[in-house]
């Protein structure tokens, strides 16, 4: 994941944090060493330069859900490697490594909790798990999360951090687009609100299905939002990309999202929306 700076958006640097617990972290945007505890207190925004560090799924949950209210509903599933896929490395090895790095079985955490007092069911994607890609397990977990939201009659919150479909499960991954959209239509039929939060990156198959179909769509400042990746576009078309292309502000001005929110304001913004929606869905 290359470091990208975008003059149009203040908070735009994006980094992959290392898994180990160290006292200091070097910001790859400004090169400065940052005290890790300070970084955490600052929503994982570099205090020196304002760059955003990736959040893990668990850190997202902590950042959004009221302390002590989170209930993990992630199903105990992992991929069977249905294609027995292997590139330079077997898919099974990649899965194991990702599981070790993240402590998760796959690229999403599902749970229930309160956001500023409002009950929600949420699904949070984990970018460190094979790029937050959606295969059969992610598809099933998202379907499960939405079914929980229907059952509990609580708004569904989807925090996106995904590069797209998981290549290693082939068309089965592609079909998760249809699967998650089908279940999303159940939310619609039942009048259950669906709020998406798009972070860096929200692209590919996840964006071309469930993530594009929310009732309310917030973009974290600096988020990358689109279908094809910028490099693919440059290579395929030879087009020069306009400044700020596919960034949150670009998505806003092109009618794709309702608001661009800095990370530190995200919980407050969601609380505001949930305040207004109080009583929706009606029982």
């Amino acid at each position: 994941m290359p470091i990208r700076r975008d003059s149009k958006e203040r908070y735009v640097e994006v980094e992959l944090r290392r898994g180990e617990e160290t006292l200091w972290e070097r910001c790859r945007a400004c090169g400065e060493l940052v005290f890790r505890r300070r970084l955490k207190e600052n929503n994982y925004i570099c205090p020196k330069c304002g760059a955003y560090f990736f959040l893990t799924a668990q850190e997202r949950v902590v950042a959004l859900i009221d302390e002590g209210t989170f209930q993990d509903l992630t199903l105990p599933l992992e991929s069977t490697d249905p294609l027995s896929f292997s590139d330079r490395k077997p898919y099974r090895d990649r899965l194991r490594e990702a599981q070790e790095t993240t402590g998760l079985k796959d690229a999403v955490v599902v749970g229930r909790g309160k956001l500023a007092g409002h009950p929600v069911v949420l699904a949070v994607m984990e970018f460190r798990f094979i790029g937050g890609s959606m295969g059969t397990v992610v598809g099933e977990q998202l379907a499960h999360a939405m079914e929980q939201a229907v059952e509990a009659r609580e708004p569904f919150l989807f925090v996106v951090a995904s590069g797209g479909a998981r290549v290693q499960e082939g068309v089965l991954s592609l079909l998760q687009m249809a699967k998650t959209v089908a279940v999303r239509e159940q939310l619609a039929r039942q009048g259950v609100p669906y709020i998406a939060v798009l972070t860096y990156p929200s692209t590919g198959g996840v964006m071309a299905s469930l993530a594009s179909l929310a009732d309310f769509t917030l973009a974290e400042q600096g988020a990358l939002i689109g279908f094809a990746g910028p490099r693919v576009i440059e290579q395929t078309t030879g087009q020069k990309l306009p400044p700020g292309f596919q960034r949150a502000q670009y998505a806003l001005s092109h009618g794709v999202v309702d608001a661009v929110v800095p990370r530190e304001g995200l919980k407050g913004e969601l609380a505001h929306l949930l305040d207004i929606l109080q009583g929706v869905p009606s029982a």
Binding site: T80, T136, M177, S212
Partner: protein, 318 residues
């Protein structure tokens, strides 16, 4: 394709003999027959050993039957509908109404263009958002008028360009999926050539999904997978194998409901026979689907897509 050269030589000889017979009136028909039989045999042998990468080439073959020409062969009549009613009309994703047997149906298909000018306009069969929005319009029309929907899928993928992103191509594909999955009429897709990623599934998530024998359906092109995972473009043949993109593999995976055989050597060698086989397969599936009540149809469709991949995600305690 190791026997490719032998086949080419034989093809030339056959053509030569035929010319001599026709022009010179020479009596060589016995020799011709021998050669033709040998050619057919070689083709069958080669065809039996096609690798997935070979099939990728066949699926992309410039003479492969596809687009408007094929739709007109498969259907008894076709009336094209143009425009998304939002400001545009994309020639790379087309549609209309048609008769198929005794039935009026709605039709969608990817188009690569017949002439070089058309081909440029179609960007190699990669639709823009306006194409998918026209598809949504035609889907809704099909729902209103209770017309079964038939999708002919053949695209390398949605167009990856600045104007596509500016028009929210991701949202356009998602809207197609949402409309298609709740459409209160039978829906049928057939993958003709390339079923490329989101650009294909947008119109392919149907009650029944068929594939021509050498068509491919994949989450990413073999070249793309090679570049991303193998980090070298020469790995495309391996990637093609690994991705399970062939009709046979996908039939085994349960993703595809039926595989329609092609003439030996590929559909391009006999477009008429291909269209005929396709037509019969579609008529059979339409007949079956038409016998279902709408609620049943929607319940079956929901269950199909709700459960896809569910057995590939195994429960793990701890």
């Amino acid at each position: 394709m190791p026997d490719e050269r032998a086949i080419r030589i034989l093809e030339e000889k056959v053509a030569e003999l035929r010319r001599m017979i026709e022009e010179g009136g020479l009596e060589l028909s016995q020799e011709l027959e021998v050669l033709e039989q040998r050619l057919q045999q070689l083709r069958r042998e080669q065809y039996a050993k096609l690798s997935d990468w070979d099939r990728v080439q066949l699926a992309r073959h410039p003479e492969r039957p596809r687009g408007l020409a094929l739709v007109q062969k498969v259907c008894d009549d076709f009336y094209e509908l143009r425009g998304d009613r939002l400001g545009g009309d994309d020639p790379a994703l087309r549609g209309g109404v048609a008769r198929l047997g005794d039935r009026p149906v709605a039709v969608l298909f990817h188009e690569r263009g017949a002439t070089p000018a058309e081909q440029r306009a179609c960007r190699g069969g990669m639709p823009l958002p306006t194409g998918y929005r026209k598809a949504v319009r035609i889907m809704r029309l099909a729902g209103r008028l209770r017309l079964p929907l038939v999708s002919f899928v053949d695209t390398p993928g949605a167009y990856p360009g600045v104007e596509a992103e500016a028009g929210n191509i991701a949202g356009a594909i998602a809207d197609c999926l949402a409309t298609l999955l709740t459409l209160p009429v039978p829906t049928l897709a057939v993958i003709l050539g390339e079923g490329g990623s989101g650009g294909a599934i947008a119109i392919a998530a149907c009650d029944r999904v068929l594939m021509l024998e050498n068509a491919t359906y994949t989450v990413i092109s073999p070249e793309g997978a090679a570049a991303i995972l193998w980090k070298e473009s020469s790995a495309a043949p391996q990637a093609a194998q690994a991705l399970a993109l062939s009709a046979a593999r996908l039939r085994k995976l349960g993703v595809v409901d039926g595989v329609i055989p092609e003439p030996v050597g590929g559909a391009h060698l006999d477009p008429q026979a291909t269209a005929q086989a396709l037509r019969e397969a579609l008529l059979g599936h339409l007949e079956e689907l038409a016998s279902l009540a709408v609620e049943e149809l929607l319940a079956l469709r929901y269950s199909r897509y709700r459960n896809v991949g569910i057995r590939d995600a195994k429960a793990k305690t701890g």
